[in-house]
């Protein structure tokens, strides 16, 4: 008896094997392609927001301009200049009366429609206005300059004036509060569960509960924050405090889980060494376990915070998407955060806000990637094989 391989059958199997392998690689490639497409799309939309149109115009300070800034400008130009600038003129005169009667030529912020026109995008300028802008550009009196205002201004109803500074400060406050509450609580919980907890029913419930908490939809944390912190405890709505508290409850399980993993990775020989020298359990934790697991704990914390900085839904529920143009003065004053700012801009109908949304997204992504990068770097650098 001899074995005769069925070549047709073998070939089919080999083909099937090759196809399966190709599928698996193409799945990853597909995900990678999406990532590339996504970043290319966001960056290309956002690119133009980092430039802002400016016009060089004659500003003549006079009595009428004290009432309305428009009178300081040439009539046909005044429609092209941002209302954000013309509104400033009366104040400038009030501050310095000497200005009346003088005039000066300077670069001022252009209206968003002019901005869009100069960038070659659809706009609502009239034909003769376009002609005027073209003429000014030919004379070198219209230009696109780097948009510093985007980084130092707060929100505004005028796209050319809107910036992310206020939201960035708000995000910073919220993150600070999140860290202040979730880090100590999370590390304490993890230490207790890993080093001190008896093995009983209650501890099992706590463990299952932490895993559950990590998988509860974020919007439900918003409902919790609304009814506990705002309605029951009376924390002011839209404040960095209520946002931070809400997010810290969300970040807590992330920190607990990663801290537990970091503590678990430390071999028992180290604990036994400390105990053998006469240390109490707490001393063993303080002097050996915690310092050695600190890199892991910090990595987990940074990842948790990176997630918190992009979180929007629960913050919307606790009122952080109102129109708040100024940076908060403290943790109880109303504030907005970067993702909420992005959401507000994205739902605005004015076209110039679209590029600003993308630019805000780039800033948010940059912060988030930076945090994740630091976390990955720390993990690689301090990774110890015991």
């Amino acid at each position: 008896m001899s074995f005769t391989p069925d070549h047709k059958h073998l070939k089919r199997r080999a083909n099937r094997d090759r196809r399966f392998r190709i599928y698996s690689y193409s799945a990853i490639m597909l995900a990678g392609a999406f990532l590339v497409f996504f970043f290319a799309d966001i960056v290309s939309t956002a690119w133009s927001a980092f430039e802002q149109a400016e016009l060089r115009v004659e500003v003549s300070y006079n009595e009428e301009a004290l009432e309305m800034g428009d009178y300081a400008l040439d009539e046909d130009v005044s429609y092209l200049v941002s209302r954000g600038f013309t509104r400033l003129i009366p104040n400038m005169i009030r501050k310095d009366r000497q200005l009346i009667g003088t005039s000066e030529e300077k670069w001022v912020l252009a209206d968003s429609e002019v901005d869009q026109y100069l960038k070659g995008k659809p706009n609502r300028l009239h034909k003769n206005e376009r002609k005027l802008v073209d003429k000014m550009r030919a004379e070198g009196r219209a230009r696109l300059a780097f948009n510093t205002g985007f980084f130092i201004n707060g929100d505004s109803k005028l796209p050319e004036m809107a910036g992310i500074a206020a939201a960035a400060v708000g995000s910073f406050y919220v993150l600070l509060i999140t860290l202040a509450f979730s880090f100590p609580l999370g590390v304490a919980t993890a230490i207790y569960l890993e080093e001190f907890a008896p093995d009983n029913r209650l501890m099992q419930i706590i463990e299952v509960n932490i895993n559950n908490l990590a998988a509860i939809p974020s919007i439900l944390f918003g409902l919790l924050g609304l009814s506990i912190f705002i309605n029951f405890m009376g924390v002011p709505r839209s404040s960095a405090l209520v946002g931070g508290l809400t997010l810290s409850l969300m970040t807590l399980p992330v920190i607990i889980i990663s801290t537990r993993a970091a503590i678990l990775a430390i071999p028992d020989s180290i604990r036994e060494g400390a105990l053998a020298l006469g240390a109490t359990r707490w001393q063993m934790v303080m002097t050996n376990v915690l310092p050695l697991s600190l890199p892991g704990i910090l990595t987990g914390t940074i990842i948790g915070l990176a997630r918190a900085i992009g979180e929007t839904a629960p913050l919307m529920i606790v009122g952080m998407m109102a129109y708040i143009p100024e940076a908060p003065e403290g943790v109880v004053s109303a504030t907005t955060v970067l993702p909420a700012q992005i959401y507000t801009w994205s739902s605005d109908s004015m076209r110039a806000f679209t590029e600003r949304t993308s630019a805000g997204i780039i800033v948010l992504l940059a912060v988030m990637l930076l945090m994740n990068g630091v976390a990955i770097y720390m993990r690689n650098k301090y990774e110890t094989k015991w």
Binding site: R16, Y192, L213, P217, L220, M316, S346, L364
Partner: protein, 407 residues
């Protein structure tokens, strides 16, 4: 006096008092009075003991005051509270330092207290869960007082705008279209995420070289880290028009707020969740199983399909369930791209709305807080909570019951 200044004064009062307590207590362990006697603990422990004695009455007092304030029983004037707290702290300091003597087991006391505090910290997660359940349930009860729960579960029209002042609220809060929308978008997301995520995991754990893996894994993690508001913007601005144009190309009519685009983008969002969880379980299948299969003459793909994947199945199923619960609860993508119209349809090219969209919408309108529309958000939240909790528990049960133990 504002809360801020009170806190500042407290800080300025309590911190120096603690330092003094520490200093006095440690100093006392060196004093001539106890010459020749051996102290039970190190001087530092006595210092901490004195700090605990100083702070605990002050903290207790401020806690009581906070509770009184919250329940609205007594309005404690800030200045009086400040004075009481500082007096208590000073008294505690005096008492603490005075009780320092060689036989006092300061270290055991302090460490016992620390462990208790750690225990209390670990209860916070439980309280959070209880808080979510209770707050959502209580508000949902108020909603179900107004709206018949049966109508809510079985009604097919969701039109809360009809429920304005004085009108009859029956019949406008039927949640079935919202669940249909949620289900539709979740299903689309799963159709995208499960094959891509699973094949990516297979690729990374079975085929990829270490170098390729080192690039691919963090790249997938980037996908997981992108904020959902960004995905939502991307779905609304870029994907929706693409879907509409594609539909036109095939001669179909698509809304700009169709269910397909948030579903697709949500699928991409979920890929890393499925791939990294599946990668973990696939990698933990022992090599002896693969080698046994390969030694029998099976191709790589055949051994993956008939040995590795079945062995990893419980983990994969649990990853799938977690992904479903993530998709059901996802908010920003659907808020920005799915539309607001409750629409009961099988056509993913039409606009549909989901549970989470209506929750957000209820809070961003100008409704009074106790209006039926706002309260309906809590009713929906309750259902969302129950569904996600069930999915989470199910995934835990699957992994616990069916996980195979390999030696």
């Amino acid at each position: 006096m504002t809360t801020g200044t009170v806190l500042l004064y407290l800080f300025c009062g309590l911190v120096p008092l603690s330092v003094v307590a520490y200093f006095l207590a440690t100093k006392r362990t060196y004093s001539v009075k106890f010459e020749g006697e051996t102290f039970h603990s190190t001087p530092g422990s006595y210092g901490w003991y004195a700090i605990v004695c100083t702070l605990s009455p002050a903290l207790l007092a401020s806690f009581v005051a906070a509770v009184l304030q919250l329940t609205g029983l007594v309005e404690v004037p800030a200045t009086a509270l400040l004075a009481v707290i500082l007096t208590l702290a000073a008294a505690g300091l005096w008492l603490g330092v005075l009780t320092v003597k060689p036989s006092l087991k300061a270290r055991s006391l302090v460490e016992g207290l620390i462990v208790k505090m750690l225990f209390v910290a670990s209860l916070v997660s439980i309280f959070t869960t209880i808080g979510i359940v209770l707050s959502v349930t209580f508000e949902a009860m108020k909603f179900f007082d107004v709206v018949n729960i049966w109508d809510f579960v079985t009604g097919t029209t969701w039109n809360p705008d009809e429920a304005v002042a004085g009108r009859d609220v029956q019949g406008v809060f039927g949640s079935i279209p919202l669940f249909a929308g949620t289900f539709m978008i979740t299903a689309i997301a799963m159709v995208v995420a499960v094959p891509i995520g699973l094949f990516s995991a297979i690729c990374m754990s079975e085929y990829a070289s270490p170098a390729f893996r080192k690039v691919a894994k963090p790249a997938l993690e980037i996908l997981a880290g992108i904020p959902t508001v960004v995905y939502g913007f991307f779905a609304a601005i870029t994907v929706s028009p693409l879907v509409v144009h594609a539909a036109e190309y095939f001669g179909l009519q698509a809304d700009y707020t169709n269910a397909l685009s948030p579903g697709l983008v949500m699928g991409v969002m979920i890929i890393p969740l499925i791939s990294s969880l599946s990668d973990d379980v696939i990698s933990s299948v022992p090599n002896s199983l693969r080698e046994g299969s390969l030694a029998m003459g099976a191709y790589r793909s055949e051994s993956i399909k008939s040995v590795v994947l079945p062995a990893a199945l419980p983990g994969i199923v649990s990853a799938f369930l977690l992904a479903v619960s993530r998709a059901v609860g996802e908010t920003m993508i659907v808020v920005m791209a799915a539309g607001l119209r409750a629409n009961l349809t099988w056509n993913p090219l039409e606009g549909m709305t989901t549970v989470t969209v209506r929750i957000v919408d209820a809070f961003t309108g100008d409704q009074a807080f106790d209006s039926p529309e706002t309260l309906s958000a809590f009713g929906l939240g309750l259902v969302l909570l129950v569904v996600t909790l069930l999915l989470n528990i199910l995934s835990l049960v699957v992994i616990r019951r069916f996980r195979q133990q390999y030696e």
